[in-house]
């Protein structure tokens, strides 16, 4: 049964009549060239931009629910950790904003920092973190609110291949253990193959193909053949 349903989603200058269903607990990779509308799709789900059509979470229409009440975790491409907070406060931000009591915040944050192997960084400020450490902190900040949906917008694109591979592995384990429904934007076929249960391909603001990795990789529609050929040659 689909957990996220998008019906006739359109946005000015980008998405055109997009329909998409994502089942609960599935990691769906959103593939496409730059400008295909991948990030816009995530922004629609998070409620960060105006759109036409309907967004449903677990059959509830979310159109009038503002971003801050959708409980969607969102890891942006450049992470955007708050520079004036240390790691602990960055991760605790959502809990504090929601009025969680101080004791609960400490326990929860420490638990999640342990889970992502970054407990030793809790007093550091973002300027003193490496790229990989920033990604982990961003991830911790996104999942501490226990969202049912996690959106990731090319979160590993700026990392070296070894660090990215490690984080991908942990991300997959995390997704399964927390039963998260995830949409993962990437333009990297190899990354999609390693992570995704399902793949959706966007081009020119429209969904051109969706299915398993095998479906998309071995029977690509015309619009993404160039993409697939490039992936084959890698």
């Amino acid at each position: 049964m689909s957990f996220i349903s998008l019906r006739n989603i359109s946005t000015p200058y980008c998405l055109k009549n997009v329909n998409l269903d994502v089942e609960a607990g599935v990691l769906m990779a959103v593939l496409g060239f730059t400008g295909a509308g991948k990030s816009t799709l995530l922004n629609v789900i998070a409620g960060l931009i105006e759109y036409g059509g309907d967004v449903y979470f677990d059959k509830y229409n979310m159109n009038h629910i503002p971003t801050e009440k959708r409980n969607v975790g969102y890891l942006l491409q450049d992470i955007y950790l708050f520079p004036h907070f240390n790691v602990f406060e960055n991760v605790a931000f959502g809990l504090r904003a929601g009025g969680c009591p101080a004791d609960g915040i400490k326990d929860k944050v420490e638990k999640i920092l342990e889970l992502l192997h970054i407990a030793h960084l809790k007093k550091r400020f973002p300027k003193d973190l490496s790229g990989g450490e920033k990604q982990r902190v961003g991830l911790a900040r996104s999942i501490i609110m226990e969202p049912k949906i996690l959106l990731l917008d090319e979160p590993l694109s700026s990392l070296d291949p070894a660090t990215a591979k490690n984080i991908r592995k942990e991300l997959k384990i995390l997704q399964k253990s927390l039963d998260l429904t995830m949409l993962y934007v990437t333009h990297d076929f190899a990354e999609a193959r390693e992570l995704a249960d399902r793949i959706v391909v966007l081009a020119e603001g429209q969904i051109k193909q969706q299915g398993s990795f095998q479906d998309v990789f071995y029977q690509p529609v015309e619009e993404i053949q160039e993409f697939v050929v490039a992936a084959h040659s890698n």
Binding site: T67, V72, Y74, Y80, H84, A97
Partner: protein, 250 residues
């Protein structure tokens, strides 16, 4: 290591020591009340301190500076914030601010003398103007420089607009706000002295003018040193505050 620090300190202090020595020597050679030696100026400083004239004058100027600076900075902070968070307010006020900002603070003096008269409100209003525009402008710039993505990230974490404003936008704009406050911290002293020299019969500026009419160069020099020290202390104080508030994460 200690030797290196000592060498660096010597490098800073040597020109100052040389300047003071030259001043002392030149004063003795000149033998004129128009160029008193350093030792005379120090003696006058001591007597002005002990008879209370210096502290009374400094106190009067200090109260004006603090009142005008706090009011001007607060108003600048509020107006800058309103312009930063509300496009309609920004569009409405920007032409007015752009028109008034370039006017030198002392350019307002003749107008304010006619409107307000010669009383305590005059220097305070001048200092208010001196502090208001840079703080408003820097607050606006600071808020505008906060990237939209930080706000997006905060919203997805469940933060309300008000929470985002005071936990994200304002702290992230604070380096710019502090720059405005620090730049004007010295300028307000220059402004109050000028206002007192022209229009107000009390304060350091007034003491300067009285000394000039009595040809007391030693008193003038004491006043200039005190003014320089106050500008320096104020600027340093805000630099220290800025480092305390933003130093750890910048």
């Amino acid at each position: 290591m200690k030797r290196k620090i000592l060498k660096e300190q010597l490098l800073y202090l040597a020109p100052v020591g040389l300047f003071l020595a030259l001043w002392e020597i030149a004063g003795h050679i000149a033998q004129t009340p128009l160029f008193p030696p350093l030792s005379n100026v120090v003696g006058v400083f001591g007597s002005l301190l002990s008879n209370g004239i210096l502290l009374k004058s400094l106190g009067a100027s200090f109260v004006r500076v603090i009142a005008g600076y706090i009011l001007g900075s607060l108003a600048g902070l509020i107006v800058g914030t309103m312009m930063g968070v509300n496009k309609v307010v920004e569009r409405s006020l920007r032409p007015l601010i752009s028109f008034l900002f370039p006017i030198p603070t002392l350019g307002w003096l003749p107008l304010l003398m006619l409107w307000i008269g010669i009383n305590e409100a005059l220097p305070i209003t001048l200092i208010f103007i001196c502090a208001f525009f840079p703080v408003a402008y820097n607050t606006l710039t600071g808020i505008k420089e906060v990237k939209e993505e930080y706000i997006k990230a905060a919203r997805t974490l469940g933060a309300s607009s008000w929470y985002i404003f005071y936990r994200i936008i304002l702290p992230m704009a604070s380096p710019n706000i502090f720059t405005g406050l620090r730049l004007e911290a010295g300028m307000v002293w220059r402004t109050v002295i000028a206002a007192e020299m022209f229009a107000i019969p009390t304060g350091i500026g007034s003491l300067l003018m009285n000394a000039e009419s009595l040809i007391r160069v030693d008193v003038i020099m004491v006043c200039l040193v005190v003014l320089s020290l106050m500008c320096f202390i104020f600027e340093r104080l805000f630099l220290w505050l800025e480092n305390r508030v933003t130093g750890a994460w910048r």
